[in-house]
Symmetry: C2
Subunit: 144 residues, 2 copies
Amino acid sequence: MADDAREKWLAEAKRRMRSAGMRSGQSRTAVMELLARDGRCLMSAQDVVDAMSARGASSRASVYRVLDTLHELGMLHRIDSGDGVARFEIADPDEHHHHAVNEATGEITTFTDPVLEASIKAIAARLGLELTSHDVILRGTPAR
Amino acid sequence: MADDAREKWLAEAKRRMRSAGMRSGQSRTAVMELLARDGRCLMSAQDVVDAMSARGASSRASVYRVLDTLHELGMLHRIDSGDGVARFEIADPDEHHHHAVNEATGEITTFTDPVLEASIKAIAARLGLELTSHDVILRGTPAR
DNA sequence: GCAATAATGAGATTGGATCTTGTTATTGTC
DNA sequence: GACAATAACAAGATCCAATCTCATTATTGC
């Protein structure tokens, strides 16, 4: 993701927090800035906890709280990859993607697909569902 | 799912276990029969543990082992619904479906869609991935 | 600057899942 | 059918992500 998109994300996250009547404590600020500056794709909460404690700030409880808050505010995607660890990534409104897991290496790649998105929209309409979110996860091994 | 499909599943599960060189201990047998006879859609491991201990059999460890084994043999789907609890359901080779979560009620419905499946196949091919499994989860609220 | 109160930190706690170890049961062989 | 080899099991300890508690600290409107 481009640097300016990250800064935009940070500004938007702060704006939404403020307009939700939330104060800007040091943990919230620090976690948001970490995610905006150094956030990798699919960080686990523990990754964030480690990164924060490496710079001597933010307790585990706070990190979990902030991640949860950002998720509720729609600023983070939460992906449950199946290993019992929730992973987060910045929600860039300009880029909607899904994930494919290489089961041989554990490597995760992202992809986008308009046909897939269209069919998901059609399914939701058929089910009478106002879609709030959706996940698609592919798992497989490299084809020979 | 029809009763005969369940019996077919049970027979196939036993066959695969046997051909994988595994013995048919009482825990394996009991868990498989429970799943085949009374298995609901999306049972958690704990649900199975409770059901087994209600009939005075199978330790928690055994239940987890058997579920894991059945999953590895391709006889169970494992769905991580995002609440930290893995859920399982019988893998009926004749019926491949996905899940939609009603976020207002927590209710889970299933759906199938050929267009969706086709696009997923196409994506996997594009990524050079030999697909072993894939999940699609929709979340939303009932449209007014 | 002050008071109200939201946010935080540290550690305890929860709960799903896994691991360990001694025991039991299954299976091929005789 | 009995026996030995060994796979499978049971019970409980343990692990670890996530949540909760509550006293302390920091932020914000006034």
